[in-house]
Symmetry: C2
């Protein structure tokens, strides 16, 4: 018998009451009974994103919602700015190029956040840029960006601010309308606490003007079709068949978030991730994030001689905990411990303990219990 845990930056563990919801009989999607649930989900998503604008829900992974943002605001030949601080930022670039856009890149060294001064420089130098694409939280490096500051720069600029909030929203502060974000993209399997398969998009009025005029070929991700479905027979609907069981699960998960409140959810993630970071530092390991460390995961540099592919495999296959290795150019060099979604104070303790035990077994020079002790102290302090 081996208990299984997920401590990855998505998919994350799903609360039991949310799992149980999926075992209920399937509902037909074109019924007032189901559309009532859909309405509740969309309303609560507005609360989580911090917007008064409509939220569109699609059956797809987060990457699909990224493409919805791209295909609806960018036309072939457009110039766009991509602010990338890791593998998911690089995906914006690949996608923009697939759609025939020319890309101006702001790309600090991995481990750093976007420099607001560099973003300003790029926006000033490119007044014709159609949009700037960024991440709220970059999962591959464990670094978040200051979206509020970027929103202040795009407010007076032609460029739309498109934010991939897939791993950050539902875990760290986010105010779409207040910060002036034009397009927000979200996935279901992170802070939203359900299995993967749903994604969300919301657009500002400024974005909507661009979207209405956009002629890029698209169909499934055409946001105009989603908007049109919102008011069908005076109740929200989706243009294509809704992923009904996932939406039923999302309704339950969003009730949990709303009951806890956004602010308490954000605070919890901040506390738990801090306890992991402090524990890891006490152990003598180096954090990969040089600034703005993520609250949804902690990225850690491997000690001398440790291949994190083997470390992650050991923790998964021997101990039953799914963590994450490094992505792209950091493969084998870093590993990442998630504290995302359905997580509480004993999760960091388990995570740091597993890291200690595995590293020790792999021959690293660490003192068992030292990291966990510090994690516990931080948790006791934070939860006082």
């Amino acid at each position: 018998m081996k208990k299984k845990y997920i401590m990855a930056p998505g998919p994350t563990e799903v609360p039991p009451e949310v799992l149980a919801e999926a075992a209920k009989p399937v509902m037909h999607h074109r019924t007032p009974q189901f559309r009532k649930i859909l309405t509740e989900v969309l309303d609560n998503m507005k609360y989580v994103i911090g917007t008064a604008r409509n939220v569109y829900i699609m059956a797809s992974s987060g990457t699909g919602a990224m493409e919805a943002a791209m295909a609806n605001v960018v036309s072939a030949g457009d110039k766009v700015i991509v602010g990338t601080i890791g593998a998911f930022g690089d995906r914006w670039e690949t996608m923009a190029k697939a759609y025939g856009a020319s890309v101006v890149k702001v790309a600090p060294e991995w481990g750093y956040a976007l420099s607001i001064a560099e973003v300003k420089k790029a926006l000033d130098a490119n007044p014709d840029a159609a949009a700037i694409f960024v991440q709220l939280n970059e999962t591959s490096t464990g670094v978040y960006n200051d979206i509020e500051a970027i929103g202040k720069l795009t407010a007076g600029h032609k460029a739309l601010l498109v934010v991939d909030g897939i791993s950050g929203i539902g875990a760290q502060p986010y105010y779409m309308d207040k910060w002036g974000v034009d397009v927000t993209v979200i996935g279901s399997q992170k802070g939203l606490m359900i299995p993967p398969g749903l994604a969300y998009v919301s657009c500002s009025e400024k974005a909507w003007k661009v979207i209405e005029a956009n002629k890029t070929p698209k169909f499934y991700f055409d946001l105009k079709r989603y908007e049109k479905a919102m008011t069908k027979e005076k109740m929200p609907d989706t243009p294509w068949t809704s992923a009904v069981s996932l939406i039923m699960q999302q309704a339950v998960a969003l009730r949990l978030i709303k009951e806890e409140t956004n602010e308490k959810v954000w605070e919890r993630h901040a506390k738990l991730s801090k306890s992991v970071r402090e524990g890891i530092k006490a152990l003598g390991l180096e954090l990969f994030a040089k600034e703005n460390p993520a609250v949804v995961l902690t990225s850690i540099v491997a000690p001398q001689g440790i291949d994190t592919k083997i470390l992650v495999k050991k923790i998964r296959d021997d101990y039953g905990i799914s963590m994450a290795g490094g992505q792209g150019k950091m493969e084998g060099l870093i590993f990442r411990v998630g504290t995302l979604g359905y997580t509480d104070r004993f999760d960091p303790i388990m995570g740091v303990a597993a890291v200690e035990m595995a590293l020790k077994e792999m021959g690293a020079n660490i003192e068992i219990g030292k990291g966990v002790k510090r994690t516990m102290e931080v948790l006791m302090e934070e939860y006082k």
Copy 2:
């Protein structure tokens, strides 16, 4: 207390053991443990589709898989043939136009199947057509097409044969390779017996040559990315985050299909739908399908003075059974009774009984029990 049933042509009812599977803890998708399940699903999908080619699985509704077919084989300026016999065929046309293709239409009156002679004429007159898009089963009218015959026509033609098998596959005979189909598109919430949210695509070698050269802007539905992921570390993977809980459910549902065998599944659908058709005719109502009546649903013309929107609402809200009304230009004029997926011999009896009771209550001139009696007789004959 009201028991709830789905007798719609999708989403359909999901077997209890498949529902229960979704209540299991979420797995991380980038693990050998999950990819073993994915491998099983993809292998069993080959069996269901009748292909030796790879099958790609995507988190999307069936429409997304239709777009994957379109965006990967069609380039702006291409000429395509659309064989449409209803609302979903018309969707091929809308989609082709969204991608800048010019469309040659073969469109018999609703209620009829594609005439093979007309399809031949269109192919002969358009040797430059890049593809022909058709439905295996047209859900909006309840009529199926003779794909085998169309496959014989495209075998010697430049055009790829693209088949929307969303509502038909897993319920009626389909042999992708043997019939010479080039692209097959499937959804999860019909014959595949899981909730909506997954879709499948498979492509012939002939199609793959076109796909490899295709430059239409795309990302999420780019089949080359799906193909590339199939061989990552020698095990199938998906390019984007897998909808893990739906795939876990699909594994269980496909085991049920494989155990029953394709042939027995097809036979069951044929028997059940026949019993509904015969019962409805005995009741004095008219079937909407003038030829090739669907096995996954029965489309029925409303008796004089009956608005099927009200009929379907009554059966749903008063009796608890979700059936379907008419789509597009048949709204209010026909209604559709599903016998799709997880269905057995008492489902047709319930369906015909509900239709009789509702029509009687709405004032139609029918004799209670007459249709049900005939349905029972047919079932006893078929199951002898």
